[in-house]
Symmetry: C2
Subunit: 256 residues, 2 copies
Amino acid sequence: MRRNPRSDGARLSSLARERLVERIASGELAPGTKLPPEPEFAAELGIARSTLREALRSLEEDGFITRTRGVGTVVTSRTRLTNNLDVNFSVTEAIWAAGHEPGTEAVRIVTRAADEHERQLLRLPEGASVAVIERTRTADGRPVVFSRDALSSDLLLGRPDQLRGLAAESTYELLERRYGLTVHHGIATFRPMKADREVARHLRVTRGALLLYVRQVDYDENGLPLLLSHEYHLAEAFEFTVVRRGPGRRAASPSQ
Amino acid sequence: MRRNPRSDGARLSSLARERLVERIASGELAPGTKLPPEPEFAAELGIARSTLREALRSLEEDGFITRTRGVGTVVTSRTRLTNNLDVNFSVTEAIWAAGHEPGTEAVRIVTRAADEHERQLLRLPEGASVAVIERTRTADGRPVVFSRDALSSDLLLGRPDQLRGLAAESTYELLERRYGLTVHHGIATFRPMKADREVARHLRVTRGALLLYVRQVDYDENGLPLLLSHEYHLAEAFEFTVVRRGPGRRAASPSQ
DNA sequence: CCTTGGTCGTTTGTCAGACAAACCGCTGGC
DNA sequence: GCCAGCGGTTTGTCTGACAAACGACCAAGG
């Protein structure tokens, strides 16, 4: 075998990474397992050692493995995560993962001029308009999240009618399939709060009920903001988890 | 120049990564900037192309750059993060970063038998004992966080007296300097709650005040739990931020 | 004039082979 | 019994090369 072509558009090293993550997740590569030496392992996977090393580097960064020169590479034991915020899944998926039946009620969609807050976070010019989607998400029929999403009307390519599909499918899926917009990452800010009159009505709880308010901006791979969403989660319905890296190998963020 | 030795123990590719992160953070490599071709850039940095590529791979994973074959590598525009939970900084650092003067009051340290909850999360055997540290952290003299940390007595190498230093320095720093324990990552779970009688007393607020409760377990690089901490944050004192990867390039987690 | 198709240079992705450095276990000398 | 040295193993880095994808340019055809 010589060159190693890709059938789809993905990179070979990324594919190798995913294959390894699967084998770790499935338990085939249990924590404590020592991987074969890199040259041997690369031959086994049918890729070059440098390509394998790219995948290993990535896995090491995420804490799946530990590499030591002269010793080898061993699979790290990691704790099971139930509902981690690191992965930007949709509310629908979160409800599903928690073992409940997700649903949506009371969808309301309007198009209006963006307020200053929206213009700033979505980097919109003066006078721009946004499509706003309000939804109440349910788990086993009980309201658990009220959300208000805003995205620039310009992104909808003049077909805002497509948004009606939101009752059935996830926002992310719809953005990707209908409009070709891929969300690369999101930045979420959250704080506890008490339900005000309006949110209490949507979630069918008393005013003052305990909520977690999450404000999130989703960006594409070029760092351009796509979606601004406000979510009001019922405190007792969810538990959020985050993997925090470092200290030790500190993943610095640009301060500018 | 031929081989490229390291003065300290770090890897050359990691050093290159850090140097590049600094240049991005400082604004020298502004968003939108196109990096030189890899061979040229590697020569400029005095490292081999493969080493540079390891650093670039890492930066791409964290969203700092975008690479496209036939086009080049460009610096991605990223939003400024004020207080992101991704990096596992200490409470002290968080207060400092928010522009306040951090302080500690009412330190209480006891050693007692671990309860079942602690034994399970820290993977301790029956009958193990833990050192428990209770602290009230202040910002500009005002209490903002009450925390209760527990760690196995075995880790202290029979020198629990060293814990007294906690009034002055960060838990992470103390663990590393005094006991040689490096925290690799932590897993935090959080939910909103109202202050009960005890916490309200420590934070000098009325009962029922809005809090964010954070339970975190810190692990070393082998995935062994080191530290269990419960933190009660005053809701209005902090705002938490998380970078959520994907969807699109989904960073899968082991489900087992 | 505009569109369409191909060509070519640029740049990242992958491959191959080699040496250097660090770690581990073993062994011999004291 | 203990420590220093030695060699094998394995990751880290270097060098050089080809393949694949992308963009810009240009020529032919309508």
